[in-house]
């Protein structure tokens, strides 16, 4: 018997009835009486505070543009929804471009979500696909570009700024 084998045989096994090892980071194994936090909606100025925070929370567009450029060759970036405080929009961010680094994109979205405190709804499309869709009057792209939005980047010819 080699030393390695002996070592593994001598290793104590955790008895099954004692349960899984406690792991703080795991979502499945968590102490049962851990505390959750929630906003106290009984506050008298809850509505006012909410309006204040939601109204000033969208990040500034120049800064957004700066970080968005690193993702890839983006042709069009349009911000709607939460960026303009619109409630009934389909998406929040439209990204059109090629050679997109999905790792960077993911990171960018995660950071933005962390900063804004909500989940963003975003669409990413290739330039060809977007041009095709736009020219055939695709409902989805037309809806976004007809509703109020702010073009952070616009390099597509023949599209109004």
């Amino acid at each position: 018997m080699t030393a390695k084998k002996r070592k593994s045989k001598n290793k104590k096994k955790r008895p099954l009835h004692k349960g899984l090892p406690f792991d703080k980071t795991s979502r499945l194994v968590r102490p049962r009486n851990s505390v959750n936090y929630q906003f106290n909606t009984a506050l008298p100025f809850f509505g006012e505070l909410r309006n204040l925070v939601l109204k000033i929370s969208p990040p500034s567009f120049p800064r957004l543009e700066k970080s968005i450029r690193k993702i890839g060759r983006l042709k069009l970036v349009a911000a709607t929804g939460v960026f303009l405080n619109l409630n009934n929009s389909r998406i929040d961010l439209l990204l059109i471009g090629d050679d997109i680094d999905y790792k960077k994109l993911n990171n960018f979205i995660k950071n933005l979500e962390a900063e804004m405190g909500l989940e963003l709804r975003y669409v990413i499309m290739g330039t060809d696909e977007f041009v095709y869709r736009y020219n055939m009057f695709d409902r989805f792209t037309r809806d976004i570009l007809d509703s109020p939005h702010k073009k952070v980047i616009n390099k597509i010819k023949g599209l109004a700024t």
Binding site: R30, R32, R50, N111, A114, G117, L118
Partner: protein, 76 residues
């Protein structure tokens, strides 16, 4: 002119506190535990813990015990 995010950060005292308020005010019905909050805001747990305690003191945030939700009645 300072940007919106800078205004909100310094108005509430810290970046952590501003982000906490944002996440809670965007979804008031949602209850989150410390791990989730720190993951969602991308902030270290220690800071989050400290700010949560401050907000709890002000009664802006309330605690919900997790096992309260498990006491669901089972219909027979």
């Amino acid at each position: 002119m300072p940007t919106n995010d800078k205004i909100i950060d310094s108005l509430f005292g810290s970046k952590t506190r501003a982000r906490l308020l944002k996440i809670f005010l965007h979804n008031p019905a949602l209850s989150l535990c410390l791990d989730d909050i720190s993951a969602k805001t991308k902030l270290p747990k220690n800071n989050v813990k400290k700010e949560l305690a401050a907000l709890l003191n002000l009664k802006i945030i309330k605690t919900v015990h997790r096992h309260d939700r498990k006491k669901k009645k089972i219909k027979k």
